[in-house]
């Protein structure tokens, strides 16, 4: 399955709305001007996403994972490779990465992941006019393969993953990460249907 260009556009716009909220929250928190950008959005099957992510990232990655349930359910994961995560932490807290991924850094990444995921999934929820509830996010730092492996084991049904390329702009720096949202088939179909409706509404 592939997203049509118009679907991509609509999705991007939707995510941007959500990201705007996230960026605002982060800006308030740190006092720095922060913005989030979506350079690309794509849909892949789980096996495909595995491949894709392996291409995009290597080494250790920090993943912030939130499970959401409700009328739609799935998994939201913010992925940042180690360097990006540390840089983001440094930029947000103004603390040097003296000791690598110490407790404080882990918490900060978790919070960032939490804010971004909430914002994005919240945007979806608004679109679908449903209430979704999330688990407390969990941070893991492990190899890409491990992250994906965990994913694949849990998911038995054939599912799709939305990969949202995310770019943090702050303090004259850019940090690149990936938001992966894994949905069941029906959830995705619903999402896309509502997306179309929204698009028509907006443009019409």
């Amino acid at each position: 399955m592939e997203l049509t260009p118009s679907q991509k556009d609509a999705l991007t716009e939707l995510i941007n709305i959500g990201y705007a909220r996230a960026a605002a929250a982060l800006s308030d928190l740190t006092g720095h001007r922060i913005s989030l950008e979506v350079p690309e959005v794509a849909i892949h099957t789980i096996p495909e996403i595995t491949d894709r992510l392996e291409h995009l990232m290597e080494g250790e990655v920090a993943s912030v994972n939130q499970v959401f349930s409700g009328p739609i359910n799935g998994n939201g994961i913010l992925l940042l490779d180690r360097e990006a995560a540390l840089l983001l932490n440094r930029l947000l807290t103004d603390r040097p990465s003296v000791s690598g991924f110490d407790g404080a850094a882990r918490e900060v990444i978790t919070e960032v992941g939490n804010i971004v995921l909430n914002a994005c999934l919240g945007a979806f929820g608004n679109l679908l006019k449903i209430q979704v509830s999330f688990t407390v996010p969990a941070l893991h730092i492990e190899s890409v393969q491990n992250v994906l492996h965990t994913l694949t084991i849990e998911k038995q049904r054939l599912e799709y993953a939305l990969i949202i390329h995310t770019c943090f702009h702050l303090r004259a720096s850019n940090v690149r990460g990936y938001l992966v949202i894994i949905l069941g088939v029906t959830s995705l179909a619903t999402l896309l249907k509502e997306l179309k409706k929204w698009e028509d509404r907006e443009l019409g």
Partner: protein, 827 residues
């Protein structure tokens, strides 16, 4: 109905809940949909100091209004909507204002990480659960690590940039910005000690306005720090009342630390950092800055040393250039005599390439067999002598030897120990050669001079010998002629012939004397015996000598000695010669019965004029021109061409002119023409300072006999009348009392009668030998004598001496000889 499994399950869950409530090492509390507290675990009770009873049922925002103030209500509300939130300590610091049990936190507050999540029952959110974790210690450690890290960054930067920089004192500005960025300082001041004036002044500052900086220039408080060894911390500046701190307050400084910059014992200045906001400087900050100050001090000291090195290098370079560019040969050697340096001048002098010489022993340049004087000199230098000059020989590459003058001085190390010697060599071969030539030429000149002097002496001797040799043959001839002319036993005609012979021999003698005089004059050997003389007296003497001839020719002599002063400085003998010459000429060239006038006058002050006028043959203008040059008499006098009618060489006037000029006078001749007579004028300078009326004592006339004191009595024994008369007159004129005798018998008579002082006697007397007479008188009266001799032969002289004649005179006697003889006797 719950199954047993359900019961166990529930029991287990309840147990878990109980545990969480009681033992969980973190805070857990729940809220209902209205955000009122439903549960409050132990941890929360302990750390909030609020028991469950106090809080349960109350709204969370009521209990902690701060949450609202801090705008942290959102996570709670979101939780009710199903969103869970993570609040990291790094970004939020804390959720609830709880005190930290751990000290060391600036705020005393507990640093927390919180999670706010929805409580879901079934599909419904029924409340909110909040978990709070105390991360204070972790945060403290993290902060500490970060601080440390920041310091390390600063230190590393400082180390690299300060020590790498060529101008570390300028790098301090950048350093400050780095420090300010990492460590929260707002101001810095760098004071450096000026090398020359030794005063500590502000070099650069940051974070202080320009006008304030001026005041900081001589700020004592900070300059004082430079003298110390420890950093000085100024905390809570605002509380310091001392006037010295006013400046710090003016610069908005709340706290500061000043660190002295020192290297070894040297004080280089001070570095000061200050904060506007913080009132305290932590000890570890001070330590860090002290470390940085040390880097700076090291770097500045290095910079100073480099500057000094460069300066010294420049000087060395300059000196080296001077040595190189010098034309002199400059070499240096170490204590082992190995050549250490050689400039182009030296290479050129010795004919080597510089590389060929360096490292070689100095003996390379010393000729074989010659001792190395430089070694001894070096020894003497150790004793304190600084400089030596030595002239010696050195050897060039091609083996040729050169003479050199060496200037040697010691080379000393910084402690004053001699480590070698340098010498500057000058090639003096040329100079030596020149000196040699000079010495040789001097020798030659000396030899030549000696030769010349010898030649002169030879010439003098020759002249003397010549005179003697020329004259001697005349004496016997003259004697014989005289005697024969007086011998009345001979016929008249014969007597006349002998008279002629006598006259001519006398003339001959005169000529020879003239010739010798002239020779002496031209050789510059005419010496005058100067004394105060009366010209009139001398003229009288001269007149006396020409009297005979004048009387013979019946010439009228008109004497007018009208000069009121007639004293002059001169040689009496020579003056007489002059006057005699002129008179003689007048007599000679005036025909019989003519007139000769002799006048003296003083025409002008200090000048004596002697005029001799004759009525003789006169002179033509040509003759007048030549008359004083010698060897001509006047052609017309000689009758042109052949015969010399009047005889003589004509030297007399030439000699007279010379003599007149030697006396500072002038002689001139005038004539109106042939046969018109002639006038000779001689002018002399009168003796100065002589008043008119002063005259030398005149001699007494002959006759009165008793000698006055001081006058000598002379017995003149001479049988030839003319000779006798003339000599007597001469003697009388010279203040002698004269008795004359013409024989030995008569001489004895007179000697018996009168007291005598001197005997002047002819040797050949009619009645005996003058020598015997002398002998007798010497024995009897202790008398001295002068012999008159016609022989002049060796034996006679010897005999006459032996008998007591002090000296002898050879006839015809010349006046100067007489005077000399008299002088001899008087001594």
């Amino acid at each position: 109905m719950a199954s047993p499994e359900d019961n166990t399950g529930i029991k287990r869950e309840l147990a878990l809940l109980a545990w969480i409530q009681q033992f969980a090492p973190y805070g857990v509390f729940t809220l209902d949909e209205s955000l009122r507290i439903q549960s409050w675990n132990s941890w929360m009770e302990i750390h909030s100091h609020l028991s469950g009873q106090e809080v349960i049922g109350r709204g969370i925002f009521d209990i902690f209004p701060e949450i609202t103030e801090r705008k942290l209500t959102t996570p709670f509300q979101r939780a009710l909507e199903g969103e869970s939130s993570v609040l990291s300590a790094a970004l939020h610091h804390y959720l609830l204002p709880l005190k930290s049990p751990i000290s060391g936190n600036e705020t005393g507050r507990m640093q927390q990480t919180a999670r706010v999540a929805p409580l879901v029952a079934g599909e419904q959110v029924c409340g909110v659960i909040v978990v709070i974790e105390d991360v204070t210690q972790r945060e403290n450690q993290a902060a500490s690590l970060i601080r440390q890290h920041r310091r390390d960054v600063v230190l590393a930067w400082a180390l690299v940039h300060l020590l790498k920089s060529d101008e570390p004192r300028k790098t301090v500005r950048q350093l400050f910005f780095k420090i300010a960025e990492q460590l929260d300082f707002d101001t810095f001041l760098l004071y450096l000690r000026d090398a020359e004036s030794d005063a500590v002044t502000l070099y650069t500052a940051g974070g202080i306005s320009d006008c304030l900086q001026k005041d900081f220039h001589g700020y004592e408080v900070l300059a004082e720090v430079a003298k110390g060894f420890e950093p000085v911390i100024f905390n809570v500046v605002k509380n310091h009342e001392e006037p010295a701190f006013a400046l710090l307050k003016e610069a908005k400084i709340s706290s500061a630390v000043a660190i002295p910059l020192r290297v070894h014992e040297k004080s280089l200045g001070a570095l000061c950092f200050a904060s506007w906001s913080r009132e305290h400087i932590a000890a570890d900050e001070s330590d860090l800055l002290t470390t940085i100050a040390q880097y700076l001090a090291t770097a500045v000291d290095k910079e100073n040393t480099n500057l000094e090195l460069r300066r010294v290098e420049a000087i060395n370079h300059w000196m080296g250039a001077i040595v190189e560019s010098s034309e002199d040969a400059i070499l240096s050697k170490d204590l082992n005599g190995i050549i250490k340096s050689c400039n182009h001048g030296a290479a050129r002098l010795f004919g080597y390439e510089i590389q060929e010489v360096i490292g070689q022993p100095m003996s390379l340049l010393i000729p074989a067999g010659q001792p190395d004087e430089e070694r001894d000199i070096l020894e003497r230098m150790r004793g304190g002598r600084r400089l030596e000059q030595l002239e010696t020989v050195r050897k060039r590459k091609d083996g040729t030897l050169i003479e050199v003058s060496l200037m040697i001085s010691p080379v000393m190390d910084a402690d004053g120990k001699i480590i070698g010697a340098s010498n500057i060599a000058r090639d003096i071969t040329e100079r030596r050669q020149a000196e040699q030539k000079l010495a040789e030429s001097y020798q030659r000149e000396k030899l030549a001079r000696e030769k010349a002097e010898a030649a002169n002496r030879t010439k003098d001797n020759f002249l003397a010998a010549l005179s003697h040799e020329l004259r001697t043959p005349l004496n016997p001839a003259l004697l014989i002629a005289s005697e024969s002319a007086d011998n009345h036993q001979l016929p008249e005609a014969v007597r006349l012939n002998f008279e002629t012979i006598r006259k001519n021999i006398e003339l001959e003698a005169l000529l020879i004397d003239d010739l010798l005089d002239l020779t002496r004059i031209t050789a510059g050997k005419m010496a005058l015996n100067r004394s105060l003389v009366d010209v009139h007296d001398i003229l009288q003497d001269a007149i006396a000598t020409v009297q005979a001839e004048q009387q013979e020719k019946k010439l009228h002599l008109d004497i007018q000695l009208n000069a009121p002063q007639c004293l002059m400085e001169g040689d009496a003998v020579r003056l007489q010669q002059i006057f005699w010459n002129v008179l003689k000429n007048a007599v000679k060239f005036t025909p019989p019965n003519g007139k000769i006038t002799l006048e003296t006058s003083v025409p002008a002050e200090g000048q004596l004029l002697v005029r001799v006028t004759d009525t003789g043959i006169g002179m033509t203008p040509e003759e007048l021109a030549r008359i004083f040059t010698g060897f001509t008499q006047g052609d017309h006098a000689g009758g042109g061409g052949g015969s010399h009618r009047f005889g003589g060489l004509g030297l007399g006037l030439a000699i007279s002119k010379n003599l007149v000029e030697l006396h500072g006078g002038k002689i001139s001749a005038e004539s109106d023409g042939p046969n018109q007579g002639a006038v000779f004028v001689i002018a002399f300078p009168l003796a100065r300072g002589i008043k008119t009326g002063m005259e030398p004592a005149k001699p007494d006339a002959a006759g009165s006999f008793e000698p006055a004191s001081g006058e000598m009595a002379v017995l003149l024994v001479e049988d030839h009348q003319v000779t006798r008369d003339v000599m007597a007159q001469l003697l009388r004129r010279r203040n002698y009392k004269v008795l004359t005798a013409d024989s030995i018998a008569r001489a004895r008579e007179l000697a018996n009668k009168y007291k005598l002082d001197l005997l002047i006697s002819d040797i050949g007397l009619p009645d005996g030998n003058g020598n015997d007479l002398m002998d007798e008188f010497r024995a009897r009266f202790g008398l001295k004598g002068i012999a008159l001799t016609g022989y002049g032969m060796e034996e006679d002289i010897t005999r006459s001496r032996a008998v007591g004649f002090v000296t002898h005179l050879i006839k015809p006697v010349r006046i100067q000889s007489l005077e000399q003889a008299l002088a001899l006797v008087k001594r």
